[in-house]
């Protein structure tokens, strides 16, 4: 033993403290890829995605610390697991960016095939976006994390998980308790996603409990009748036979058969099916099953399947508690009903039965609790709470600052909507609950909220400029200062960003050369048909539709005769034709194509930089990120600049932006986690830059696989009529159609921006961001989030700030992680069951 005051330095170990290791990299890439693929599929199917950091952290413990430690006692260190989760989330995160934007091209009727340049353009653009997003946000790490100390609740939660080995058994138990509580609370919201086929004897009860509609019950009884009688109507069987013939023809095309002849045959068969099925509600799968059963190829009992329309009996959820509004009869409507049918039962008022189903509405559904209706607030106001442990945990971790988010929601849903409605300033056909349940958010909350967000972010950047400058100066001086080598310098970032910019320019340049119009401006014939559109596209001649160049557009025309007709038109007639097909040119339309692409790439890159800051700040302050709103704005921006017909370049830039901003938020959140555990930022930044491009490739491949499978099965790539409805892309599609139809309320966005700017003049520059965010998001998540904020404040007052941090943070972290783990399990089960044909 040495003297007390002589420091002992233990011998330097043979191997350095494990941080960036082969095991961590392999783990991160593999787990990230698996999460990406499964979440892409479930995102296209049911519309939500999951951020993977917390799941990857938990899995990292299991694999790196658990399994690998049996081989190497030093494996699975806190920092190594941090690198593993950084890479996994880097590979996973871009799926939300891709599935929000890219599928909209398919929904609008454009194709995405690996034999076409468009597929690769989009893929490279998404890869460029991922790299750009990472590059742009890295220099702001110091400002956001070191200086502004943004909380990044999810990043903080992941830090809690990583620190659990050393935090002591009590804190680990508290973390696990949070995970357990979250899973218990969240489970009944997810169970109804799974179902059995309904029992015939239970149909009446299922209708009464609003699990299925009357029509579902009737169809089920009809199918039962066919099964029992071992026969189906001739028209149904014939439709099924025709569909089977179409499948055969498609398979022949795929094998290299004569495409033209077979497509003509398919079109003819489809017309026959339309005639047979006029007025009928049977789905395609049912007709095929009936045809197969009639031919003796399958048992009649196989018709009993939810895919054929047989009623579903979902597993138990909160709605099964049957906590409803009290019954309240509308005397007037009842009297009128009883005039025609004396036995008619009492008609409920709209206050308790909004959709007039005959049953009082549920106060507790599978995912929400409607406290407002219980308190009898006006229908045009809303006070619902989501059953969402994640929101509760995020609110707790945000604390007092989150009350501003709540304030914005209160402004929109408890003040703005009711006052406008009661003041008669909204369309007369709207009911109060229409306003509260969606109309208000879509038409008021979103444009004003996004505007406030933009204005608040702009003011935030202006006010934070001194600290941004100090942070950048520190990074630039890094190689010469103590501790400075911990940060990635500016030079590699500039090189990476320049490379990504070039990629974006190329993508914009090539895509603006493509014809975006879906209707011939001369003959009005449909050249590219939307999914589900009543009118089909005409067949392209050999070599594709002829193109002409006008006002910056390459326009596709139906045939040579249309080209001749176009040549004979004067400019006024041509402009009129463009307006008719909703392809009016924009300010850049008359420019040289390459210059236009350069401007789009430059504005796109600048906008990506700014949007990345907004998203990272929102995530840092609240854990919410308005990615879809910013993506919508991006698509609108490009369409306005390049012309409202420029859908392909707009979606391409939108996809680039979405990938960029998801990576910005993810990188910052991971760096916050790294800060908590003492990781070297440089290591996380390098591994993220090296792996971020993988995610978009995987995602695009999965989208391709899904669309090819859908095309082979149904002839439809995505959307209605397939199992992958792509709901988020549908939302973007409706915005694109809105822009083309002149429906965008640009002034509301502008006025919101002005309000956001002015709000930021006070002592808190980011106030507009917080208020705008909550006007834009669904209120029921904000209210639950607000409970978390209030819980933090209350506990801090009661037990002291230190206690609230020490014990509250791990529990809140557990809530966030528990919901994420359960969501992933549910996603995985959906994927497995879908591929196995189960339900």
């Amino acid at each position: 033993m040495s003297e007390k005051n002589e420091p002992i330095q233990p011998d330097a170990p043979k191997k350095k403290y494990r941080e960036v290791t082969v095991a961590a990299v392999v783990f991160g890439v593999v787990v990230g890829a698996i999460m990406n693929a499964s979440i892409t599929y479930s995102g296209l199917k049911i519309g939500f995605t999951i951020v993977g950091s917390s799941i990857a952290a938990v899995l990292g413990f299991g694999v790196l610390r658990g399994v690998m430690r049996s081989i190497n006692p030093k494996a699975g260190s806190i920092l190594e697991t941090n690198i593993g989760q950084t890479i996994a989330s880097s590979v996973n995160t871009t799926n939300s960016g891709v599935i929000f934007t890219v599928p909209v091209l398919l929904l609008l009727g454009y194709s995405l095939s690996p034999t076409e340049s468009r597929f690769w353009l989009v893929t490279f653009a998404c890869m460029a976006g991922a790299v750009l997003g990472t590059c742009f946000i890295i220099p702001l790490r110091k400002q956001m994390i070191d200086i502004d100390r943004l909380r990044f609740p999810s990043g903080t939660a992941v830090g809690s998980i990583l620190k659990s080995p050393g935090a002591g058994i009590k804190k680990t138990i508290v973390l696990l308790a949070g995970i357990g509580v979250a899973m218990l609370i969240y489970l009944p919201t997810q169970l109804p996603l799974f179902h059995d086929e309904a029992n015939i004897n239970d149909l009446k009860l299922l209708v009464e409990n609003e699990k299925i509609s009357e029509q579902d019950a009737e169809l089920t009884l009809t199918i039962k009748g066919w099964i029992d009688g071992q026969s189906a109507p001739a028209s149904v069987v014939r439709a099924g036979e025709l569909r089977l013939a179409i499948k055969t023809l498609r398979a022949q095309i795929a094998e290299g058969g004569d495409k033209e002849t077979r497509e003509r045959e398919i079109a003819s068969l489809e017309t026959q099916i339309d005639v047979l099925e006029e007025g009928s509600d049977y789905n395609a799968a049912l007709t095929i099953a009936a045809a197969r059963a009639t031919a003796g190829n399958i048992e009649w009992s196989k018709l009993r399947s939810s895919k054929n329309g047989w009623a579903k009996d979902p597993f138990w959820g909160y709605s099964d508690l049957r906590i409803r509004m009290g019954a309240e009869v509308d005397e007037e409507k009842t009297a009128r009903a009883q005039e025609t049918d004396p036995d008619a039962k009492g008609v409920l008022t709209e206050r308790v039965d909004r959709k007039q189903t005959g049953h009082p509405d549920l106060l507790v559904t599978d995912s929400t609790v409607d406290v407002g209706r219980f308190l009898r607030i006006p229908d045009s106001a809303q006070l619902m709470f989501a059953i969402a442990p994640f929101a509760l945990g995020a609110g707790y971790l945000t604390g007092r600052a989150g009350l501003m988010v709540l304030a914005g929601g209160v402004l929109a849903y408890l003040f703005l909507n009711p006052i406008l409605f009661e003041g008669g300033l909204l369309p007369e056909t709207l009911k109060g609950f229409d306003v509260a349940e969606g109309w208000g958010r879509s038409n008021l909350g979103k444009p004003l909220g996004i505007g406030l967000l933009l204005g608040g972010a702009m003011m935030g950047v202006v006010v934070a400029f001194p600290s941004i400058r100090a942070a950048l100066a520190s990074i630039a001086a890094a190689p010469t200062s103590k501790g400075g080598s911990d940060e990635l310098g500016l030079k590699p970032l500039i090189i990476a960003a320049a490379g990504a910019f070039v990629l974006l320019f190329v993508a914009a340049d090539v895509s603006t050369n493509e014809a975006s119009n879906r209707v011939c401006p001369v003959t009005d014939q449909v050249l590219v048909a939307e999914v589900g559109a009543p009118v089909e596209a005409i067949e392209a001649p050999d070599g594709g539709f002829p193109k002409v160049h006008y006002r910056g557009y390459n326009l596709a025309l139906a045939d040579a005769a249309a080209v001749r007709a176009w040549d004979g038109l004067d400019n006024e007639a041509r402009d009129s034709a463009l307006k008719k097909i909703k392809s009016s040119p924009g300010p850049l339309s008359g420019w040289n194509r390459h210059l236009r692409a350069l401007v789009i790439a430059a504005i796109g890159t600048l906008w990506i930089w700014f949007a990345g800051i907004i998203i990272a700040q929102c995530t840092g302050m609240t854990d919410w990120s308005p990615i879809s709103g910013i993506a919508l704005l991006t698509v609108v921006l490009v369409m306005v600049l390049a012309g409202v017909g420029s859908v392909i370049p707009a979606v391409l830039v939108g996809a680039t932006l979405c990938c960029a901003i998801t990576m910005s938020a993810d990188m910052m959140s991971d760096l916050r986690t790294g800060y908590i555990v003492g990781a070297k930022p440089r290591n996380q930044q390098i591994v993220e830059l090296c792996t971020t491009w993988i995610g978009p490739v995987i995602c695009m491949m999965v989208v391709l696989l899904i669309t090819q499978a859908n095309l082979a099965k149904t002839g439809i790539p995505l959307g209605e009529g397939t199992e992958t409805g792509a709901p988020q892309a549908e939302a973007l599609k409706s915005v694109i159609i809105g822009v083309q139809g002149g429906d965008m309320p640009y002034m509301m966005y502008g006025l919101g921006t002005l309000l956001g700017l002015l709000l930021g003049l006070g002592s808190f520059a980011g106030l507009g961001v917080l208020v705008g965010l909550s006007m834009y998001l669904p209120f029921f998540y904000i209210t639950t989030y607000g409970i978390g904020c209030i819980a933090n404040i209350t506990i801090a007052k009661w037990k002291g700030r230190t206690w609230a941090e020490e014990w509250g943070v791990p529990f809140a972290a557990g809530l966030i992680v528990g919901e994420a783990i359960l969501s992933l399990i549910v996603n995985a089960l959906i994927v497995i069951m879908s591929s196995g044909g189960g339900s």
Binding site: I419, P427, L448, S467, L759, G760, L761
Partner: protein, 239 residues
Amino acid sequence: MKLIASIILTIALSLGTLAAATAYTVSLGTPDEQLVGKTLKFGAGATADDEPIIDPGTVLTEGDLVTLREAGVKHVHVKEFRFGLWRHSWVFGLSMVGLVGGAMMLRVDAKRRLLAADNDPHGTSLSPNAAIAQARAAIDELRADLPAMPTDQDRLEAILAKLDDVQRVQIAAFIGAREKLVGRFGLAGYARVMDRFAASERQVNRAWSAAADHELYESMVCLDRASELFADVEPLLKH
């Protein structure tokens, strides 16, 4: 003053959003020549069956306006924005004045509080200078005590316990003193101080993680670095 400023801001923001929400809402009291040719964004009026009297997308004609007025409809919602048709523009203007006024009041109040906080020698929380000094002292004490401990396990436990305290007390106090520091040094100066502080805090965090992973050497190296970096922060805090 903060309360009054917050009330003004709340009222101004509420009025501003209300006014902005009516940007495309036009009164049917407006002269016909300003309304004819405008396109309805939403259906106008409502029949007994809750269907619109005039469908969305319709370009308004004089006849449409007569029909709507006879039905008692007061407003329509159009796609085109015209400043002259925006009845509540004055409300929006008022709200902007309120927002600017409220923001200025908040700034004045914030400046006053910063000065007061910085000049208060009897503040209840640990001062930034004291927090840094105590953190450094605690780490140096730990470094001095470690050699005397009987085993590496004892050293690792001591590191975890001591750093838990430093993170919970001194570091938390320093982070909580943002207002004081901004008041003292301005935003740019605060940024420089936090930049140095963050580097030292990261070393403390890394030392903690290494100790939790039984990496004694790494932990002690990080403690050495943390002590040096805290020493770099102290001169920055002098006026």
